[in-house]
Protein backbone atom coordinates (compact mmCIF):
# COMPACT_ATOMS: atom_id res chain seq x y z
CA UNK A 1 0.00 0.00 0.00
CA UNK A 2 1.52 3.40 -0.95
CA UNK A 3 1.69 6.28 1.47
CA UNK A 4 -1.84 7.26 2.41
CA UNK A 5 -3.30 10.68 1.92
CA UNK A 6 -2.00 12.98 4.64
CA UNK A 7 -4.15 14.03 7.54
CA UNK A 8 -3.48 17.42 9.15
CA UNK A 9 -3.48 17.86 12.92
CA UNK A 10 -3.30 21.11 14.89
CA UNK A 11 0.02 21.99 16.53
CA UNK A 12 -1.58 21.55 19.92
CA UNK A 13 -1.15 19.17 22.85
CA UNK A 14 -4.91 18.67 22.69
CA UNK A 15 -4.37 16.88 19.35
CA UNK A 16 -2.19 14.12 20.85
CA UNK A 17 -5.11 11.82 21.54
CA UNK A 18 -6.31 12.14 17.92
CA UNK A 19 -2.80 11.35 16.68
CA UNK A 20 -2.65 8.20 18.82
CA UNK A 21 -6.10 7.26 17.53
CA UNK A 22 -4.82 7.77 13.95
CA UNK A 23 -2.14 5.15 14.65
CA UNK A 24 -4.71 2.71 16.06
CA UNK A 25 -6.86 3.16 12.95
CA UNK A 26 -3.86 2.62 10.66
CA UNK A 27 -3.02 -0.60 12.51
CA UNK A 28 -6.58 -1.93 12.56
CA UNK A 29 -6.77 -5.36 10.97
CA UNK A 30 -3.00 -5.83 10.92
CA UNK A 31 -1.41 -8.61 13.02
CA UNK A 32 0.35 -6.16 15.33
CA UNK A 33 0.29 -7.20 18.96
CA UNK A 34 -1.08 -4.89 21.62
CA UNK A 35 2.32 -4.17 23.13
CA UNK A 36 3.86 -3.15 19.80
CA UNK A 37 0.89 -0.96 18.93
CA UNK A 38 1.17 0.75 22.32
CA UNK A 39 4.85 1.47 21.74
CA UNK A 40 4.13 2.88 18.29
CA UNK A 41 1.42 5.14 19.72
CA UNK A 42 3.82 6.19 22.47
CA UNK A 43 6.53 6.94 19.88
CA UNK A 44 4.15 9.07 17.80
CA UNK A 45 2.96 10.85 20.94
CA UNK A 46 6.54 11.69 21.95
CA UNK A 47 7.67 12.88 18.51
CA UNK A 48 4.52 14.96 18.12
CA UNK A 49 4.92 16.43 21.62
CA UNK A 50 8.43 17.49 20.71
CA UNK A 51 7.19 19.18 17.54
CA UNK A 52 4.35 20.93 19.39
CA UNK A 53 6.56 22.22 22.20
CA UNK A 54 9.86 22.96 20.49
CA UNK A 55 9.47 23.35 16.71
CA UNK A 56 8.63 27.03 16.86
CA UNK A 57 5.35 26.39 15.06
CA UNK A 58 2.14 27.88 16.37
CA UNK A 59 -1.36 26.54 16.29
CA UNK A 60 -2.78 29.38 14.17
CA UNK A 61 -0.76 28.91 11.00
CA UNK A 62 0.82 25.45 11.04
CA UNK A 63 -0.14 21.79 11.03
CA UNK A 64 1.44 18.42 11.67
CA UNK A 65 0.80 16.09 8.77
CA UNK A 66 0.47 12.35 9.34
CA UNK A 67 0.36 9.54 6.81
CA UNK A 68 0.69 5.78 6.95
CA UNK A 69 2.02 3.08 4.70
CA UNK A 70 2.05 -0.70 4.81
CA UNK A 71 5.16 -2.09 3.18
CA UNK A 72 5.62 -5.85 3.19
CA UNK A 73 5.46 -6.68 6.90
CA UNK A 74 5.86 -3.15 8.22
CA UNK A 75 3.51 -0.40 9.24
CA UNK A 76 5.10 2.99 8.73
CA UNK A 77 3.75 6.16 10.32
CA UNK A 78 5.10 9.41 8.93
CA UNK A 79 4.94 12.81 10.62
CA UNK A 80 5.86 15.97 8.70
CA UNK A 81 6.18 19.51 10.00
CA UNK A 82 7.67 22.80 8.89
CA UNK A 83 9.29 23.66 12.20
CA UNK A 84 12.96 24.32 12.78
CA UNK A 85 15.04 21.43 11.44
CA UNK A 86 15.45 18.88 14.22
CA UNK A 87 16.74 15.33 13.98
CA UNK A 88 15.55 13.54 17.14
CA UNK A 89 18.45 11.08 16.87
CA UNK A 90 20.78 13.91 17.88
CA UNK A 91 19.14 13.99 21.30
CA UNK A 92 19.16 10.23 21.85
CA UNK A 93 22.63 9.91 23.34
CA UNK A 94 21.96 12.73 25.80
CA UNK A 95 18.79 11.03 26.98
CA UNK A 96 20.51 7.64 27.21
CA UNK A 97 23.20 9.19 29.42
CA UNK A 98 20.46 10.35 31.78
CA UNK A 99 19.36 6.75 32.36
CA UNK A 100 22.52 5.85 34.24
CA UNK A 101 22.03 8.67 36.76
CA UNK A 102 20.20 8.18 40.05
CA UNK A 103 16.71 9.68 40.02
CA UNK A 104 17.75 12.34 42.51
CA UNK A 105 20.30 13.68 40.01
CA UNK A 106 18.24 13.41 36.85
CA UNK A 107 16.99 16.38 34.91
CA UNK A 108 13.21 16.57 35.21
CA UNK A 109 11.79 15.61 31.82
CA UNK A 110 13.48 14.65 28.60
CA UNK A 111 13.07 10.91 28.03
CA UNK A 112 10.58 11.12 25.20
CA UNK A 113 13.01 10.75 22.31
CA UNK A 114 14.55 7.69 23.97
CA UNK A 115 11.13 6.07 24.37
CA UNK A 116 10.17 6.95 20.79
CA UNK A 117 13.29 5.67 19.03
CA UNK A 118 13.84 2.56 21.11
CA UNK A 119 10.15 1.65 21.05
CA UNK A 120 9.90 1.06 17.30
CA UNK A 121 11.68 -1.34 14.96
CA UNK A 122 13.06 1.44 12.78
CA UNK A 123 13.20 5.21 13.08
CA UNK A 124 14.14 7.44 10.16
CA UNK A 125 14.48 11.19 9.85
CA UNK A 126 15.20 13.49 6.96
CA UNK A 127 14.80 17.18 6.23
CA UNK A 128 13.23 17.55 2.83
CA UNK A 129 11.70 20.51 0.97
CA UNK A 130 11.44 22.56 4.15
CA UNK A 131 9.85 19.77 6.18
CA UNK A 132 11.07 17.60 9.03
CA UNK A 133 10.05 14.07 8.06
CA UNK A 134 9.95 11.50 10.88
CA UNK A 135 9.15 7.89 9.96
CA UNK A 136 8.38 5.23 12.56
CA UNK A 137 8.20 1.60 11.50
CA UNK A 138 6.96 -1.47 13.30
CA UNK A 139 7.21 -4.94 11.85
CA UNK A 140 4.56 -7.62 12.06
CA UNK A 141 4.36 -11.27 11.06
Amino acid sequence: MPLSEEKAFPVSLDALKDMRDYVATAAAGLPIDKKKLYKLQLAVDEIATNIILYSGLNEEDAKIFMACEIKKNSLIIQLRDQGVPFDPRHKLEMEKACLSKPTEERRIGGLGIYLAITGVDEFRYEYMDGFNVNCLNVNFC
Binding site: L13, D14, L16, K17, R20, K34, K35, Y38, K39, Q41, L42, D45, E46, T49, I52, L53, L99, S100, P102, T103, E104, R106, I108, G109, G110, L111, G112, Y114, L115, T118, G119
Partner: protein, 113 residues
Protein backbone atom coordinates in the same frame (compact mmCIF):
# COMPACT_ATOMS: atom_id res chain seq x y z
CA UNK B 1 -11.24 7.76 28.18
CA UNK B 2 -9.92 11.17 29.16
CA UNK B 3 -7.57 11.67 32.07
CA UNK B 4 -8.89 11.76 35.62
CA UNK B 5 -7.03 12.12 38.87
CA UNK B 6 -7.76 12.43 42.56
CA UNK B 7 -5.96 12.57 45.89
CA UNK B 8 -6.97 11.46 49.33
CA UNK B 9 -4.84 11.48 52.46
CA UNK B 10 -5.09 8.63 54.94
CA UNK B 11 -5.13 9.53 58.63
CA UNK B 12 -1.60 8.17 58.98
CA UNK B 13 -0.13 10.36 56.26
CA UNK B 14 -0.26 8.32 53.05
CA UNK B 15 -1.15 10.35 49.98
CA UNK B 16 -3.23 8.09 47.76
CA UNK B 17 -3.26 9.42 44.20
CA UNK B 18 -5.55 7.68 41.73
CA UNK B 19 -4.95 8.19 38.00
CA UNK B 20 -7.06 6.88 35.13
CA UNK B 21 -7.29 7.36 31.39
CA UNK B 22 -4.37 8.68 29.38
CA UNK B 23 -1.49 10.63 30.87
CA UNK B 24 0.37 12.71 28.30
CA UNK B 25 1.80 16.19 27.91
CA UNK B 26 -1.68 17.69 27.78
CA UNK B 27 -2.68 16.23 31.15
CA UNK B 28 0.44 15.76 33.29
CA UNK B 29 0.09 19.12 35.09
CA UNK B 30 -2.92 17.73 36.93
CA UNK B 31 -0.80 14.86 38.27
CA UNK B 32 2.02 17.25 39.13
CA UNK B 33 -0.48 19.42 41.02
CA UNK B 34 -1.53 16.45 43.15
CA UNK B 35 2.10 15.70 43.98
CA UNK B 36 2.38 19.34 45.04
CA UNK B 37 -0.65 18.88 47.30
CA UNK B 38 0.88 15.70 48.77
CA UNK B 39 4.03 17.68 49.58
CA UNK B 40 1.97 20.49 51.11
CA UNK B 41 0.13 17.90 53.22
CA UNK B 42 3.48 16.55 54.42
CA UNK B 43 2.81 13.08 53.05
CA UNK B 44 4.94 10.37 54.64
CA UNK B 45 4.36 8.06 51.68
CA UNK B 46 2.80 8.36 48.25
CA UNK B 47 0.70 5.56 46.75
CA UNK B 48 -0.02 5.89 43.04
CA UNK B 49 -3.07 3.81 42.14
CA UNK B 50 -2.72 3.27 38.40
CA UNK B 51 -5.13 0.41 37.65
CA UNK B 52 -7.21 2.62 35.37
CA UNK B 53 -4.28 4.32 33.64
CA UNK B 54 -4.17 2.93 30.10
CA UNK B 55 -1.46 5.18 28.64
CA UNK B 56 1.51 7.03 30.08
CA UNK B 57 3.93 9.11 28.03
CA UNK B 58 7.26 10.50 29.21
CA UNK B 59 5.34 13.39 30.76
CA UNK B 60 4.26 10.89 33.45
CA UNK B 61 7.88 9.89 34.05
CA UNK B 62 8.70 13.55 34.39
CA UNK B 63 6.26 13.79 37.31
CA UNK B 64 7.73 10.64 38.92
CA UNK B 65 11.21 12.20 38.82
CA UNK B 66 9.78 15.50 40.08
CA UNK B 67 8.01 13.66 42.92
CA UNK B 68 11.11 11.73 43.95
CA UNK B 69 13.24 14.87 43.97
CA UNK B 70 10.73 17.09 45.78
CA UNK B 71 9.55 14.52 48.33
CA UNK B 72 13.06 13.40 49.18
CA UNK B 73 14.48 9.96 49.81
CA UNK B 74 12.63 9.47 53.10
CA UNK B 75 9.23 9.42 51.38
CA UNK B 76 8.64 6.11 49.62
CA UNK B 77 6.58 6.06 46.41
CA UNK B 78 4.45 3.02 45.61
CA UNK B 79 3.23 2.28 42.09
CA UNK B 80 0.18 0.07 42.43
CA UNK B 81 -1.82 -2.01 39.90
CA UNK B 82 0.01 -0.44 36.94
CA UNK B 83 -0.87 -1.98 33.60
CA UNK B 84 1.83 -3.91 31.72
CA UNK B 85 2.66 -1.16 29.22
CA UNK B 86 2.91 1.47 31.92
CA UNK B 87 5.25 -0.81 33.89
CA UNK B 88 7.32 -1.28 30.71
CA UNK B 89 7.69 2.48 30.30
CA UNK B 90 8.83 2.84 33.90
CA UNK B 91 11.33 -0.01 33.67
CA UNK B 92 12.69 1.05 30.25
CA UNK B 93 13.84 4.26 31.87
CA UNK B 94 15.21 2.72 35.06
CA UNK B 95 12.72 4.40 37.36
CA UNK B 96 11.57 1.10 38.85
CA UNK B 97 14.55 1.38 41.20
CA UNK B 98 13.11 4.55 42.69
CA UNK B 99 9.64 3.23 43.43
CA UNK B 100 8.09 0.09 44.86
CA UNK B 101 5.77 -1.76 42.49
CA UNK B 102 2.80 -3.59 43.99
CA UNK B 103 0.11 -5.65 42.25
CA UNK B 104 -2.56 -4.34 44.59
CA UNK B 105 -3.01 -1.88 47.43
CA UNK B 106 -1.94 -3.56 50.63
CA UNK B 107 -2.45 -1.33 53.67
CA UNK B 108 -0.28 -3.69 55.72
CA UNK B 109 2.63 -2.68 53.48
CA UNK B 110 1.87 0.87 52.35
CA UNK B 111 0.55 2.12 55.69
CA UNK B 112 2.94 0.29 57.97
CA UNK B 113 5.46 2.66 59.52
Amino acid sequence: MSFESSLDMTSNGVARITLSGKLDSSTYREFEGLIGQAIANKAKRVALLLGGLSFMASAGLRVLVFAKQKLGSSVDIYVIEAQEQVVDTITMTGLEHSVTMLDSYDAAVVEKF
